[in-house]
Symmetry: D2
Subunit: 341 residues, 4 copies
């Protein structure tokens, strides 16, 4: 089958012909790929940023946001069957460690991450585990939802966590209305009655935000903290979700957070650098956010089936993978680039 | 001032002329009534059902769902000022007992209940406490929101409690789409992405429910349990909220509740009568629900200001109180009857 | 191997010679039994009470409270290895349904229950799943902890749930200080600073309760509700855990529950029969309780290793199974009867 | 009456004769001081560190950890009466803002802080509010518990928050076993079955910690992170509570925190400076902690009455205030210095 492989860092991806993966273990599931998201992380992988962390042996097949149809299942698989339309949770988890047993499978002590540390989905077929397969509604197409598998799931996880503490009349600031942020806005709008204030450097992004659920938008021109404080009676918002995490957004985000409020870090890049006295005297929480759990993905797919979360995609044939990469790198992708084998 | 008084049980209410109440304590607030809801409980009071429970001395002024404008305030009042538009939490609470200190003021150990055990709002003015006053948005009118003070607040409280455990993809059954239920539906729709299934004996009520947020409706014709089970893959709903509480609805409600689910009792009348083995083996919870807290009312007013919760009202001049009572008793009120002085 | 089998209802158990179970599936684990608890449910099984519910085909091996040593493991088992000392969660769960994925494996949609609906532990060996095996501390012996697998786990689950809402200064009533209750008392004492009030018909049981963590004890002589109210300033306890569930304990338990309090049903037998108005006006919750989850069992084993929960056992050789059954039936077992192969 | 006053920054405190405060407002309570804690914050006040923040006008009476007997009450006070033995919550709160109405009175929008921004308790009498008075058990003496009013309450608040997420078998690291830490250890021991690992620079403090509930102790010699990781299988603790907040403890504390764990900041001084990628990839939370609420203080007093929390005090006559200050400054106070008028 065709597969797009990392053959060296600081080198271009290469299309290769490799064997279709087969079922070997009892919980294996082989999925025929219907769509594979092209993510900024893929660019970072090529730059070698993940080389040491993942420890992956080259060459391998890249692509960690995948959806498609079940092609073959192992002997112990009971939750999906051949032909089922599925989206794949990005992690292959063990199901036996304490985290998995608590429903917090993202913190599995023995997980694999296809596309990062083992073969991923820029290919015709992918091998994963029964534990990673989420059946999707008939109304959804793999290529349309693939990018919800990782970027979308991360945004869902943070927004759903925040929504659980928000009440009607509260305010939630969302910093960044790009890839993750515009999913986060839709999720918050579906899960919470809180007033949503979106901050982004781009007036276009702010415009988009207003059309998908934001109650107000602020173009980040240096006065965004001041504007949020003004909009919240000088007190800041009960929750601030930072999808950016660099360029000063952490300091600004904390400054926008109300006493006893939560500041959620989703995007990353810079350091959070804050005096302990500020955290203590205002009793603010800084909450880290990773990708969501399996059940989070099930819930996100419920929202997608209800058309409460939609994603703008730009589809490319698998053969055109280089164009997708180039377009992403060049800022020419609106929404999310998807490879379709 | 004019005030409509209970002068004896099993007798008609009488309009009387009584002194305007004055500020005597430091936290007193006198409110000029803008609207007073006429509630089925008022009929029960006249039938003497509350005589012993409330211990109120006759004659007294009835009316426990009130909104209006602040007319005068005591020396220690800081949260409202003369002229403010307010809705009144139905209880006057002490602020000093453990429940009040925990935000759970509904369980105040020293509360009063104007309209039930002290003078209420079928009058031109009402004396209450600073702790009962919730300022409302400029866009809201007292007569339009008064009935949210008690009936609406009860529905909000139960729905908000339930919403905190519901996730996208879950199902919530609401039994009864009448006075409380139709508020509950709007609240659930605003707070939760769960699929809302409404059950009511009246096809009209079901129709209304579908127009204000229900995803599906079932006319209760004896097969409602079966229909809910069918709609939920034979498993029942994660949450069932019973706004009826009589005529068999408790048994039906429990039968509609999924394993590990919550059945919330709001309406009352009959007994809950269930084998312990059923509660244990399915691990079902039965949750009692009273009126909401002060902060619940603040949140409900936020939803009202955002037009996410609206109430159909039928307004009567205070002088026409008997027509309002008669219409309610005769089933001729659509939505909620409101007296406007 | 030796196995004690149900060969017919209303008949005595029979010892038989059956093949040692072997590993066939990838997650199978065969355990050499070190101790099997003899439970009142086993008597009920023989009386045919579970025949229809379990649908088990006779003959089969009884015994659902098991601990021992891992004898053999399937190809996909990673959490235990041959020789490990383990206690067995009573259910064999799928790991793939939504409940399992949420950590709530007790509500697994595809579970088996060895000793109830498939072969259990009154035998030399038992086949279970990797998902049911909890490794225990070196200091613990299988025969000493086996009865914690089901009875103890149920008590732990209810007490741990209740402990999460109790605060210092709160009161918790525990009705019944027998098999489950005396575990529940030890667990509450370890998890919560609440004042523990134990109610039991037997003065001896009350005495025992005081020695293992209860702060006060009441011999149920008909005045127990009155005594609890007196001990709680007339208000009742924040939490009441009912390990009895029959003989009037549900009505008494609810009468002992404070406004906004929780009444937890663990024991069963009679109906809960309560006016909806009482649940609503006092806003009381009735919470059903089943056995605990896998992680609950891990936590209970941590308490056992810390010697915070201990169990009095009366051990019998497997060959003497009939004596154990007879002693239990005749009320001659102090603590818990355990069969040791 | 005698009162010890701040008359200028960088100057010594002066004893003065001032009028006994009288009841003027309806919720006023005048308390005869039985004990006033001498706190490091008092030294900082004299150094002028709080001058701008508090905006207090000099001269004023210092002392913010107070307990005593009710001497006089305002007309609206219902929760305490003359002669009651009380400890005083450090804040005088409004009871009307949203935070107060939610039970989160520490975040009151209109609070005063006697001893910091208005007259405090280094005096014979103090004026406070009904909302600040917590009645204490007959068995407790004001001079013995006064220091629990602020330092103890802060430790209680953080420990109780952490305890709510800890389960049996979890590990909790407490950094710093000094003034706050040694209360925190006792509270955690009373509220949670988690294994408590205490880290302190002083071998004596570690020794003390082991005698009051710690399961193990580590003398901070530079290898403390390594030792905690070793003691937790390389994973870190589910919860780390940092009572120090300077000298590198924040970086160390975060390094001791397990994936998905909570790091609670209580002590302050340095900056938390952490890469966002670390917070995100391990999904760690940093939780700020201020003093506890009124209800927290009620709960702490319940623990004190049960002798689960005790405080070593060194008492001084009010006239000897300078010795107490000097001893504290010179490190000669074991436990807590208390002024007794």
């Amino acid at each position: 089958m065709k597969a797009v492989r990392v053959t060296g860092y600081h080198e271009k991806l290469l299309m290769d012909d490799v064997p279709v993966p087969g079922v070997t273990g009892p919980h294996d599931v082989v999925v025929k790929i219907g769509g594979a998201g092209v993510c900024r992380t893929d660019l970072h992988i090529l730059e070698g940023q993940w080389a040491e962390k993942s420890g992956v042996a080259l060459p391998y097949t890249i692509g960690h946001e995948n959806a498609g149809w079940v092609h073959a299942v192992g002997s112990a698989v009971t939750n999906v069957a051949e032909g089922d339309k599925v989206i794949l949770h990005p992690l292959v988890t063990c199901g036996l460690c304490r985290a998995c047993r608590a429903g917090d499978d993202v913190h599995c002590e023995n997980s694999q991450f296809p596309g990062i540390d083992t073969d991923g989905g820029y290919a015709e077929y992918l091998k994963t585990s029964a534990r990673s397969c989420v059946k999707i509604d008939d109304s959804l197409e793999p290529a349309a939802v693939a990018a919800l598998a990782d970027a979308g799931l991360t945004a869902y996880h943070a927004a759903a966590k925040a929504a659980r503490r928000l009440r009607a009349g509260d305010r939630c600031v969302l910093i960044g209305a790009g890839g993750l942020g515009h999913i986060g806005i839709q999720v918050m709008h579906a899960l919470s009655p809180a007033e949503l204030i979106v901050v982004d450097r781009s007036a276009d992004a702010v415009e988009l935000a207003l059309s998908i659920g934001a109650d107000s938008g602020i173009v980040a021109d240096g006065s965004q903290v001041e504007q949020v404080l003004k909009a919240t009676g000088g007190k800041g918002a009960e929750v601030v979700i930072d999808f950016v995490g660099e360029g000063g957004s952490t300091k600004q985000g904390l400054a926008m957070t109300r006493r006893a409020g939560d500041y959620l870090v989703v995007g990353y890049g810079e350091n959070v650098d804050v005096p302990t006295i500020d955290l203590v005297s205002a009793e603010i929480n800084i909450l880290g956010n990773l990708v969501g759990s399996y059940n989070d993905l099930v819930e996100l797919m419920a929202l997608a089936a209800q058309q409460k979360v939609t994603l703008h995609t730009q589809q490319y044939a698998l053969d055109d993978f280089q164009s997708a990469i180039d377009d992403l790198d060049g800022g020419r992708v609106r929404g999310r680039a998807i490879l379709v084998p």
